[in-house]
């Protein structure tokens, strides 16, 4: 414990602050009416859900990380537009992706499909702004069609849930963030 703590301190000493934008699935907020918490930066009022709580702790363990949270893809696009290309080092997007196999008709789950489309649209919009920040998707469903659509829209990687130290380290290392 002492060794890991001093290693983290040493890492913090030689590295700038890492800024991560966590994009949540707005349906989580729709399913939890009346649940509120002030975010780290006091930007808006939103529910702090499991992924955010766990992501905060994982990123805290990395050390030297500031976490911003966007409640949905549209807010993520707005934040990226306001902050500019090089503000965020990483964008993590939480996706409750719809289950879609080859035999299901998308119109059967129109709401889920439209959420998925909005997620992909947000990624496209961020890329269309010329923002090169790595975008990584998180989801508990990893159907190839869903992953491909996300990558085709401009995402750089996809991580199946649950998020843990090993997966986060792999992402941060892959994109040269640590």
């Amino acid at each position: 414990m002492m060794a890991s703590s001093s290693a983290r301190t040493e890492r913090q000493g030689r590295r700038r602050i890492i800024r991560v934008l966590l994009v949540e699935d707005e349906t989580i907020h729709q399913n939890h009416p009346g649940s509120v918490v002030i975010t780290r930066r006091g930007c808006g009022v939103m529910m702090e859900w499991l992924l955010q709580v766990i992501a905060r702790q994982l990123l805290k363990a990395v050390g030297g990380v500031e976490l911003d949270v966007a409640v949905n893809g549209a807010e993520a696009v707005r934040r990226v537009r306001e902050r500019g290309d090089y503000y965020y080092d990483l964008i993590l997007t939480d996706r409750q992706m719809p289950v879609m196999d080859g035999h299901e008709v998308c119109s059967r789950a129109l709401t889920s499909c439209s959420r998925h489309r909005r997620s992909v649209q947000a990624t496209r919009q961020i890329r269309a702004m010329g923002v090169a920040t790595p975008i990584v998707g998180l989801s508990s469903d990893c159907l190839a069609a869903d992953v491909d659509a996300f990558i085709d829209a401009g995402a750089d990687d996809f991580v199946p849930k649950p998020l843990n130290t090993e997966k986060l380290d792999r992402v941060l290392t892959k994109f040269g963030i640590v």
């Binding site: 414990m1 890991s4 703590s5 989580i28 399913n31 939890h32 859900w49 499991l50 992924l51 709580v53 766990i54 702790q57 994982l58 805290k60 363990a61 409750q96 289950v99 059967r108 789950a109 889920s112 989801s139 508990s140 469903d141 849930k161 649950p162 998020l163 843990n164 130290t165």
Partner: protein, 112 residues
Amino acid sequence: MAAAALREQLNAHIASMYASGMVDEQFQQLQMLQDDGSSPGFVAEVVTLFCDDADRIITELSKLLEQPTVDFDKVDAYVHQLKGSSASVGAQKVKFTCMQFRQLCQDKNRDG
């Protein structure tokens, strides 16, 4: 002394949860994130959040399954949510049950 005894009891209980497959390595991840000493209530916070939400979801599922015509898409959406959060906290048995539940939704099998 009392604290030590309680700690021992807690550790034994957690060990039995691992042994029975109730929790998996993700729960161990959460314990490790707490063990660096800076967030002593982290695991309790996460488990409480999960239990509160699971309780809500199960209530909604009960209502949906009591309907004469079950909306399996809505049931599946709730179970999908529970599966994701159970995986995030390492509640392995809940996660596996959700996976079976989702298959039953796919098959439109209310009795299952």
